[in-house]
Symmetry: C4
Subunit: 199 residues, 4 copies
């Protein structure tokens, strides 16, 4: 207590996170089991599992890009940051489970809702991660920062709507998660301008 642990750099947190996210994004392909029969029909019947994989790859990709940008601004590897990051990685690591279940039952309400929950969890932990990462940085009141905050709120709302819509129509539910990706993949676009305008 009197002797606080010396602050350390965030390099190894980034390296460890990259490792975990790289594994998470790649082990999902193990669910893409080759069809039993050597026919085009066998291949085409895999489309929901393939769609689930592509969608989750995109979602985890969005999370990685944002995590990358956030940790770049963090300067000190505090204990708080280490544990917020660990919880966030845990939430991301559940996405392959949700993906696998939904890929096998793409039209059923419970697996669709469960998949949306696994996509929502990292978004819920993200604000805490952000607070811990930036607690030693000067206050950031830039437009960019406010756009980011609004996008997170909209993302959480979209995922939550997706969970509710899973019980109505699973395609609509999945569309919500796809909208979240669109929101993040196109920065500097009309979407960002629209978020900035709502100042």
């Amino acid at each position: 207590m009197d002797e606080p642990q010396p602050p350390s750099e965030t390099g190894r947190i980034e390296a460890f996170s990259d490792g975990v996210i790289a594994i998470v994004i790649t082990i999902m392909v193990l669910e893409l089991k080759p069809p039993e029969h050597a026919t085009l029909g066998g291949l085409l019947r895999l489309w929901p599992v393939f769609l689930a994989y592509a969608l989750s790859f995109l979602q985890v990709g969005v999370y990685w890009v944002n995590h990358h940008r956030l940790l770049e601004r963090a300067t000190i590897a505090t204990t708080g940051l280490q544990w917020a990051n660990m919880l966030w990685l845990f939430s991301v690591s559940l996405i392959p489970f949700g993906t696998a279940w939904w890929g096998e039952h793409p039209a059923d309400a419970i697996p669709t809702a469960a998949y949306m929950v696994t996509l929502l969890l990292p978004a819920l932990v993200y604000p805490w991660l952000e607070v811990e990462a930036l607690c030693n940085s000067p206050e950031d009141n830039s437009i960019q920062h406010r756009i980011q905050r609004r996008k997170i709120t909209v993302s959480i709302t979209l995922y939550a709507s997706g969970i509710a819509l899973a019980f109505v129509n699973s395609a609509l539910s999945i569309a919500c998660s796809f909208l979240v990706s669109v929101l993040w993949v196109l920065p500097g676009s009309r979407i960002d301008r629209w978020f900035a305008a709502k100042n």
Copy 2:
């Protein structure tokens, strides 16, 4: 012998360890196999496997944070450090095995005790790793260092108690391993002060 191998930096030991720990922490999610039926009941029946995953993620997370801090203080990648680290990584790599077995038999004595043994092993190797990592550093008599040592001793005692308690009540046994995590996740807290006070 006359020509000792030139000392090398510890960067690649850290990178390799990060890789192994990232894989260990992530492949455990492969045990979380999606339920066969698309029902909430099917999902809820998975709770022991899910609990085992969450608990082991936390334990490996604690080990990673401590390993991170320890290697930060190591300056030279000696042969001793390389092999102590290799043995430690081996012991950590057994945790997914213990987790998988316990997750399938959460109320049985032998799998619970085996799980506790896999959690205990890295703690038993850790002091050797510490000696090798710090053998080229100046003697460290700081309060922080003494707190760390006591926490390791208490952790080993808690895990050992968990092994014994597995034959009485598996929930009590698991509680012991959870207590170890609490001990390490909350630094700078009352727990540390309590350890320092026992000077």
Copy 3:
């Protein structure tokens, strides 16, 4: 928009890509399931799966070496580069799927063609990745660059021929993909001179 995100270095894109490619190249070995019987016959019957693994290892290896060289020349981690890279990694991550299916049905047209498609996809995405990586670099009109471009065109043509040949003879189809590897593994060789000569 008025405040563009500060340019960041490409180090973490490389680290993340290395992680994904390392996992892609290694999880394919999981398809090499040990034969049931402890006989030489059991081992030898695995030859198509083994051949598929060796071939895909070579293909992913070629992609990694080229990716390595390309990102070395990229200076700024733009959003465009991050997403082009993400799409490229996605296309590479499908290779284990194609490999596994072809390894089980090495003489059938559809799995062979599907395998060729998974090998072709990263080559199709590569030119976009190249544009994004070099958009901040000075125009490159060197012979080396023109050789590279021609080799990519020839590779795409060879893979496409492989897809067509899969319906004639699967061995010829696989030979096309092997030719692509030969093209890339032997730089500074007669092959490069031949490409340069066609100026």
Copy 4:
């Protein structure tokens, strides 16, 4: 040809190799499938699989430490080094296959011999990797270097003997591979002195 590709640093080769070796060493634990029954007997029946895992972890560990030391001395990431390293990583990636087969049939000749072959292959590729890594370094005539060379020769001889002995007694065969590890884990020891003395 006239414009050779600029030499690049070996950092990313090391990072990629670390990733592959970390995955190879860790996915072997996936073969350690938890016993079906929650009994000590079920656990103990796993001993050959466990032994195979521990032995292979040690072997890959030895290879990683040597690879680490070798690449530290390499200064330029030549094309030759990249491909020698890729072939070496390929040979290392076959060890989990050999381990899995032997772990299931520990007393049978063919799986034991196959396991020894997978352990031998990286040792056979290693001298080429060494030539490529050190081709830009000044000639090394140190005692250390000669010890290293003799140890590689002895290792290859031991593995080859192990392959032959597999058809006599599988325990003797495995003992050969264990001897190789002992040779490498204890540097600066009597073993090294003995190798140096044979000048």
